[in-house]
């Protein structure tokens, strides 16, 4: 405990913790800003995709006039219904009406999966009509129905600014090997270099066990990372709660989730654990390398 207390005292006095905390807060703010931009871009892309789909369908229906009426009429009818659902989706997107959007998308999927368009696709050939993969459509259909039933809003990972989604995305980013490596390099280089200096000798002389300091130092580094994770979690949560917007609308819960997805709360715990493990292993490896370097320097 004595060594741990001293390490913490050293940490606060060196102002490293403040520097890292400030860096993380600024980084979190920057990522939130970027996510807001990406969310707007995603909405724009969705609009553009719906428009493109409508135009494609109009071109195709113009070509179907030459087909025999037995194929053409039901196909034209289905295409008209598809156009209606695409228009409804566009309107719902503009009005940020999640419920209406989901209803229209579900209806669109049902139409796409119905026998007529499939038969039609065989006639006109794949590529002219949307390259629908029935399995994927069915998965999305299941998810959309569940979302509609629970009132959940549509969100896309990496472009979501509401609390459960953004916080999980932020932690996922921090748990990546690259982010962990940068964090380890920052913490160890700023706080671990005493191992390469006479200060290391002084610490060793004042401890009865030669492993006492390295182990405690690692524990203190882990404690620092846990604190920083907690702080950045709080900042991400604050930003998302204060400024976060849904992609379209609907609710976003910590425990509610669509079929095939994991509840955000569980994802949060999982990413937190992953970050600690990645950082802990990286810190241990880095400290080992620094210790080896110190040993080598002594000849």
């Amino acid at each position: 405990m004595t060594v741990l207390r001293f390490e913490w005292r050293r940490l606060w006095a060196s102002r490293l913790a403040w520097g890292l905390a400030l860096t993380l807060v600024l980084l979190c703010g920057a990522v939130f800003g970027l996510t807001t931009v990406r969310q707007a871009q995603l909405r724009h892309t969705m609009q553009a995709a719906l428009t493109a789909r409508q135009k494609g369908l109009a071109v195709q229906t113009a070509m179907w006039r030459e087909l025999p009426p037995t194929v053409r009429d039901p196909a034209m009818q289905a295409a008209a219904q598809l156009q209606t659902q695409l228009t409804r989706q566009q309107r719902a997107l503009r009005q940020r009406n999640n419920r209406a959007f989901l209803q229209a998308r579900i209806r669109q999927a049902e139409l796409e999966l119905s026998p007529v368009p499939v038969a039609l696709r065989e006639v006109v050939g794949i590529g002219n009509l949307k390259a629908v993969v029935p399995a994927a459509t069915q998965t999305q259909l299941r998810q959309d129905r569940a979302c509609l039933q629970q009132g959940l809003g549509i969100e896309q990972s990496g472009s979501a600014t509401r609390a459960p989604n953004f916080v999980v995305d932020w932690l996922t980013l921090l748990a990546t090997p690259l982010a962990s490596t940068i964090a380890v390099l920052l913490v160890i280089s700023a706080w671990g270099f005493p191992q390469l200096s006479p200060q290391h000798d002084w610490m060793q002389l004042n401890l009865p066990n030669r492993w006492g300091w390295p182990v405690t130092h690692w524990l203190a580094v882990m404690g620092l990372w846990l604190l920083l994770l907690g702080l950045s979690l709080g900042v991400a949560m604050g930003l998302a709660l204060g400024l976060g917007q849904p992609l379209i609308g609907g609710t976003a819960g910590w425990l509610t989730h669509a079929p095939g997805e994991v509840a955000p709360l569980l994802q949060l715990v999982s990413e937190l654990g992953r970050s600690l493990v990645t950082f802990g292993c990286g810190a241990a490896l880095m400290m080992g390398l620094v210790a080896f370097g110190a040993h080598w320097r002594r000849g």
Partner: protein, 227 residues
């Protein structure tokens, strides 16, 4: 208290000690003299177990100089780079006191003896060289270890501080402790001891010099003649 037998040590393939011997059997103050870069600090680091010799044994109070034995038996004043500039002197002392289970009143008394109490709450980066030396001295003396290694403790001290440090060193010897003081400042070293270990030709030679003049003469014979 301290026995060194057949000590050989090479640093980056350059021999610093070759089968050197040293024995400090009785309490007292002993000088360790050599020009800069000759291996004084290396010897103290070897005794403190911070460096491992290629061959030979170092025993403290009859036991090998393991980490635990050094922790219990040795106080070592290193150069002032061991201090954390962003911490206060008191933070350093608190750590030493906590790891050695020392009484705060005892720590305060030693700090007062070396007139260090006044600046203990300032950050080390604001200390003068003399202040740092006095803080290091306090950190070494508070542990009450029977073997005290002092690496250039007289550097950067003004006459008043020199007197305080002299008194402190002599007080330790009078309490039955063994103090090994490395220095190249012969006039100042002569004020605290006549027992000098000269580090010469990778060996340790013990001599008793009768005066400051005799020490200077011997120093010149050993080192300046070679140059």
């Amino acid at each position: 208290m301290l026995t060194i037998e057949d000590l050989s040590f090479k640093f980056h393939r350059q021999s610093v000690f070759a089968h050197a011997q040293m024995q400090l059997l009785t309490p007292g103050v002993f000088g360790l003299v050599a020009p800069n870069g000759s291996g004084k600090s290396t010897l103290l680091n070897l005794i403190a177990g911070l460096l491992r010799p290629q061959s030979g044994t170092i025993t403290i109070d009859g036991q090998p100089n393991t980490t635990r034995q050094v922790f219990k038996q040795v106080a070592y004043l290193q150069d002032n780079r061991v201090l954390y500039p962003y911490l206060t002197g008191r933070a350093h002392l608190d750590f030493v006191a906590a790891t050695h289970h020392l009484d705060q009143a005892h720590v305060a008394a030693v700090a007062e003896q070396l007139k260090a109490s006044a600046f203990l709450d300032r950050r080390v980066r604001k200390y003068s060289l003399g202040m740092k030396q006095r803080l290091l001295m306090v950190m070494a003396l508070v542990t009450d270890a029977p073997l005290i290694l002092l690496d250039e403790p007289l550097n950067g001290l003004d006459p008043t501080c020199l007197r305080l440090v002299h008194e402190a060193i002599l007080a330790q010897a009078s309490q039955g402790k063994t103090v090994l003081v490395s220095s190249h400042n012969l006039p100042e070293l002569s004020r605290v001891t006549q027992d000098i270990w000269f580090l010469h030709d990778q060996q340790l030679q013990h001599e008793v010099v009768s005066s400051e003049q005799a020490a200077a003469t011997r120093y010149a014979e050993l080192y300046e003649a070679v140059e």
